[in-house]
Subunit: 426 residues, 2 copies
């Protein structure tokens, strides 16, 4: 911390680059898509063309990208804290700069028109360069505002949504504060991990002197499907996961379960959502010693096909009333699928968007692995309801929730505006 | 440690599965490729077909796969230590079981014929299941033997290659013993990280009670090219890396630089190689503040195109004698490209196969990121020569070597034999 404060002008972004960002921010809505703002560096011309010609994930102009976008293969997630003595203006300027850079990167462009090599040789490059030549890779960048952003520091307390507070403690929580919470969060998803890492790295760099990473998480192997043509992936327990997820084209379900409506307020959040992140450590070596029938019973589905134990195939609705010859429920009362099911939770569905993670190993030689759970829902209490229902989850013996965060995810900014403009007036 | 020892019989592999492994090991050379040994589970039939139909990376029968195989997108590397009180027979049986399972997984099959769901519901599955339905993804699994395997424990001291000892300390080393060394190592590379993780996880599980993970590392964004049609990737300093790497079809260069010849001995290592792993932390936030001309000078190439500063394009040979108008060398004497270049090191070339990594962040909010350097060479002293030449590397200010390991990589086993059979007689 002390080190950062000793060199407040050394962010590495050149003065020209910062001016470019400042000028660009206002025109971002126009510049993106119109092809303007692309540096004319001859050397990089081809690389840039290749990136922009590749799949570019764009939002619908109403909601931020990265929520209903078909889940990409890789995640880099970062929670940020505003630095000491920063002001509301710093928050606003940071979000302007982030919006500008994010819009460029989602197009496969560098973070500024100056880029990695387009400026003066005597200035640090504006872009760190490791994504040069890579396709846009469906990169999406999604921003969220944590409860702590609305404390006394920035004069935003009056605009805090009623439900935006730290999640309550759940049975079995073993949370590490250093893997929880944060004033701001960024979810970067892409089909190439280097593209997602490049995005977080450069946004972190742009934040220099204003905010810095509190914690971050890489993930792979999406654990949800969000379109009907995506195969259901498997989590690290070896089971299909996310079979009953809300699909991106199910507008009614999204309105009912994911998007904050205009009437719910606050106004700046209409069309937005709430993002829950939970780092869930999985005791995979212990799980791997559990007999197959017990694994199936705990999940409530069969491992091979993902079909509910009441019968049918993966997409057959579970029949919680079905019993075997002896009157025992085919789907155990404590099974994960039953406790989490909308039928058992007043119809609540959440949009899951999680990833597997493996972060090296423990001192015991076990993999430090699990599920980085991400979900979007219309209100925090919807997640809380489902998570409380899981208190008796038979799976709880094999997992530990070790990190947690909740953020309000504002809607997409209007053309020419920055993310959170409705909150900060920028 | 105590925990593992309390439950020596609870490895999770069913007795039937272990018998299958034991039986299968002897016949592995026949079973693989012939399609034998595939469980007849109806539910998984389609998934299995899909996996085997996908690209399968196979060795040439002489050298292990994963050395000259075109570099895949993802890495999971693990170093293992044999457990206390294990014997030479345990090493041999472990390598038999690993060979059998590795051969199956590289074909896109499960670790045993019993698999994740093919056995009794009352037994733990033999395969953990998270790769079910995924393509083989060019998975390669490469095994190595560390210097410590040849200490007094297993009676192998007489067969230790002369050069197989812990690497000497290099200037600037800041090694963490918990990220260094290991009796055995496994390099799993695949185009899908879930497939690489599945391989290490299951091999670790098979090792239960005999060996366990000492340290492990995930990587993405290969930093080398090994075939002429692979684009040169960029490392996290934003520079192209591996431009001058040895290509897989350059048999003469491989013989000269990578493969241990029959005359060098020991006999069990002929056709093998030596693997060096170095975890190199990159101080990327500091690097990002360095002006472009200085970045170029440190690397000795230009950031945009990767061309040497003496002129030409990426693949032009550097001209270390070239000077500018004032007589200053165009390529700095302390530049990385010059110090590491074969012309400066008696013609030594090494086969690089490294990956980028990002393991969360430090307490200062900086990314814990860098290069997981992997190289194969005909003798350890070839790596030592090059690394010593880098003592004055201008880049040293921006990197820290924090982990290190050296392993002898035996040749591919003959049909029906296990990896290391020449060493262990199995």
């Amino acid at each position: 911390m002390g080190e950062d404060q000793q060199i407040p002008d050394a962010a590495g972004l050149s003065r020209r680059g910062l001016m470019g960002l400042a000028v660009g921010a206002g025109a971002a809505g126009l510049a993106i898509g119109g092809g303007a703002g692309i540096a004319s560096g001859v050397a990089l011309g081809r690389a840039r063309e290749r990136r922009t010609a590749d799949a570019v994930a764009s939002g619908d102009g109403i909601h931020q990208p990265g929520i209903t976008t078909p889940v990409q293969d890789h995640l880099h997630f970062a929670a940020f804290d505003m630095m000491a003595r920063t002001t509301r203006d710093d928050v606003a300027s940071l979000l302007q700069d982030w919006t500008y850079a994010a819009n460029r990167m989602m197009q496969g462009l560098e973070v500024s028109a100056t880029g990695a090599v387009g400026g003066s040789p005597e200035a640090p490059p504006d872009d760190t360069g490791e994504a040069l030549g890579l396709p846009a890779s469906n990169l999406t960048i999604t921003f969220g505002f944590g409860p702590s952003l609305f404390d006394e520091r920035f004069g935003l307390a009056a605009q805090r949504p009623a439900g935006l507070e730290r999640l309550p403690a759940f049975l079995g929580d073993d949370l590490d504060p250093e893997r929880s919470d944060g004033d701001l969060c960024i979810q970067a998803c892409a089909d190439d991990p280097q593209v997602a890492v490049h995005a977080i790295r450069n946004l972190s760099r742009i934040a220099f002197g204003r905010a810095r990473i509190r914690w971050s998480q890489l993930g792979f192997g999406r654990t949800s499907k969000t379109t009907s043509d995506q195969a259901t992936p498997r989590n690290l327990f070896g089971f299909k996961d996310g079979t009953a997820n809300i699909l991106a084209d199910d507008a009614a379900a999204l309105d009912e379960n994911v998007w904050v409506s205009a009437s719910e307020g606050p106004a700046w959040l209409a069309g937005g959502s709430y993002l829950v992140a939970r780092r869930i450590a999985m005791l995979i070596e212990t799980w791997d010693r559990v007999r197959l029938s017990e694994q199936d019973r705990i999940v409530g589905r069969d491992k091979a096909r993902g079909a509910p134990l009441s019968g049918g195939d993966e997409f057959t609705a579970p029949d919680f009333a079905a019993t075997d010859g002896s009157g025992t429920p085919r789907i155990d009362a404590r099974s994960h699928v039953r406790l989490a099911h909308p039928d058992q939770n007043g119809g609540i569905r959440i949009l899951r968007r999680g990833y597997n993670f493996v972060d090296g190993n423990t001192d015991l030689g076990r993999l430090n692995a699990g599920l980085f759970f991400l979900s979007f829902q219309r209100s925090p209490d919807r997640y809380i309801t489902v998570q409380r229902a899981l208190a008796t989850d038979a799976m709880a013996e094999y997992i530990r929730h070790v990190g947690s965060g909740l953020w309000a995810v504002p809607p997409a900014p209007a053309a020419g505006q920055s993310i959170g403009a409705g909150l900060l007036g920028a």
